[in-house]
């Protein structure tokens, strides 16, 4: 096991950040912590990267204990925090050189690992890090986290606030790093990114709700979701919420996802109800559940 977490709990002044969390990440696995802000994702990262002590429980990374062997862990992991933490007034090249030196290596020694990413920021290598765009900062931070060829890579919300194109590219980079044998623990609030991980833990309010592959999580979901469309979406949401047998009503892209309380559901009844409410262009069909649907129903 590359990462082993057993019953880890952490509180800040009586506020429980994470409670009795356990999970394992295999070597070479791309594992996702999926949950909203405040779920406890960053606390888990800080404990595993030995920057924070847990109140209870044990954890190991790359075979080292996070308390007793913290120094060994620091040499074997790369960590990209959610907040940009490089030196703003050093240039791109200086930052990279600095991190290489600290870890007793050189840019040349592990250049292979960062080459794909570095060539994208190389044109700006003389620019101060503080003056880079968001996407460039993110790429530089990833290079700095990789320069000592870590066994395990920790990425805390690397794609928050990043546009869909750059997000897609970032995940392609992660896949390539994974192929080079690096174990990756990544967190994200974007539910659609969950599908790109080998396994995920759904986390909310300090507890893990589910751990499995994205495919299994969806496969095991037992409720039937209906896609409902009509011309006036706002009114449709309001009217569906007043439908007597409604279990949940949520906007999902261009449709409304509707779940009924009854296992035997008659779409004609609902159609007639909506017609009575003067809705136009009504469409009702069975939907394919997504990770986000499952998360919202936990």
């Amino acid at each position: 096991m590359s990462i082993k977490v057993q019953n880890i709990s952490k509180s800040y002044n009586k506020i429980k950040a994470v409670e009795a969390i356990s999970f394992e990440v295999k070597e070479g696995e791309l594992f996702g912590l999926i949950g909203p802000d405040g779920a406890g994702k960053t606390t888990i990262f800080r404990i595993l990267t030995t920057l924070l002590l847990a109140n209870e429980g044990t954890a190991s990374v790359a075979g080292f204990d996070v308390v007793k062997e913290y120094k060994a862990i620091r040499n074997s992991v790369g960590y990209m925090p959610g907040k940009f933490s490089l030196y703003q007034d050093l240039t791109v090249e200086e930052n990279l050189k600095f991190f290489a030196t600290i870890f007793g290596t050189t840019i040349e020694e592990n250049f292979d690992l960062i080459k794909d990413i570095y060539i994208q920021i190389e044109p700006f290598k003389a620019r101060r890090a503080g003056a880079l765009s968001g996407g460039m900062k993110q790429k530089l931070a990833l290079c700095c986290a990789l320069i000592h060829k870590p066994k395990v890579l920790f990425l805390d919300e690397p794609t928050t606030g990043v546009d869909p194109v750059s997000r897609k590219e970032f995940w392609q980079m992660l896949k390539r790093l994974q192929q080079k044998g690096i174990t990756i623990l990544v967190s994200t609030p974007y539910m659609d990114e969950a599908a790109l991980c080998d396994r995920i833990a759904l986390i909310q309010k300090g507890s893990i709700l589910k751990i499995d592959s994205p495919e299994n999580i969806i496969k095991k979901y037992d409720k039937i979701i209906y896609d409902i469309k009509a011309k006036n979406k706002h009114q449709l949401i309001l009217d569906l919420k007043n439908y007597p047998s409604q279990y949940s009503v949520f906007a999902f892209g261009e449709c409304i996802h509707y779940i009924d309380k009854n296992s035997v559901f008659n779409s004609t009844d609902l159609q007639n109800y909506l017609l009575e409410k003067k809705h136009m262009e009504i469409e009702i069909s069975v939907s394919n559940p997504t990770i986000e649907d499952v998360f919202m129903d936990l």
């Binding site: 990043v162 869909p164 750059s166 609030p189």
Partner: protein, 244 residues
């Protein structure tokens, strides 16, 4: 839909030295519309938005917001709009009540108006138990819903929302959009940026900026059929990829 124009933009341009951040963009937004303003990081969205809310002077071109010129009448522009972003919403070390009073004062509301507004917000958002708590102690989702309401305190004609739902959990994100729908139904115009492409589908019309230009502007439905794809995410990927 009501076709009364509330924002009119003509050849709006912003240059920083030799760099053109916004390149002669033109579009209209109608009253009561939910207008999605999308684009990749660095495409010029924030620069364009700053000009529309009267805090950055255009290099050339025209924009009327609620009928006021963003170059010459910034004070009236600011009075007519509400603004909320993920980065700045309210003061963490003031209580909810203090924040409402503070922003009400800034927006020029009278004491009586502030009192009435506070009472209404307490009722609508069910704040009885937390009204005297520090904003910093609230969960993010609450904060965002509250700061949306605060941005509407002075009943602006248009509200600008800059990535209002980043990092918020999926249920709260949807509750937030239900508040947006309700507000738009009252006739308030919503101008919103987001990186969640499912939220782009909730907009009446969306524009997509690529390298300082508006590359596409239409209803989500028309954009999907024009580019022959199934989702707004695919529309976005197609447009922004082609630019490279």
């Amino acid at each position: 839909m009501n076709k009364e124009k509330i924002i009119e933009v003509q050849n709006l341009t912003k240059q920083f030295g030799h760099f053109t951040a916004v390149n002669s963009i033109s579009f209209d937004v109608y009253r009561g519309e939910i207008f999605g303003f999308l684009g990749a990081n660095g495409a010029g969205k924030t620069t364009a938005m700053k000009m529309l809310i009267g805090i950055s002077k255009p290099t050339s071109g025209e924009a009327l917001v609620a009928g006021f010129d963003v170059k010459t009448n910034t004070e009236m522009v600011k009075r007519s709009i509400g603004y909320m972003s993920q980065k700045f919403s309210m003061y963490d070390d003031l209580t909810i009540k203090e924040n409402i009073t503070f922003f009400g004062g800034i927006y020029g509301l009278s004491k009586i108006q502030i009192k009435e507004k506070t009472e209404r917000l307490v009722e609508e958002l069910k704040l009885e138990e937390v009204i005297d708590k520090l904003v910093g102690s609230l969960p993010l989702g609450w904060k965002q819903k509250l700061s949306f309401s605060v941005a509407l305190l002075h009943e602006p004609k248009i509200v600008f929302l800059d990535e209002p739902t980043g990092g918020v959990d999926p249920i709260t994100r949807r509750q937030f959009w239900e508040m947006i729908y309700a507000e738009a139904n009252k006739g308030t115009t919503i101008f919103v940026t987001t990186h969640y492409m499912d939220e782009a589908e909730y907009c009446d019309r969306v524009s997509i900026m690529v390298e300082g230009n508006i590359e596409a502007l239409d209803t989500p439905k028309n954009l999907k059929s024009k580019y022959n794809v199934a989702s707004m995410n695919d529309v976005f990927l197609k447009l922004a990829r082609n630019a490279e």
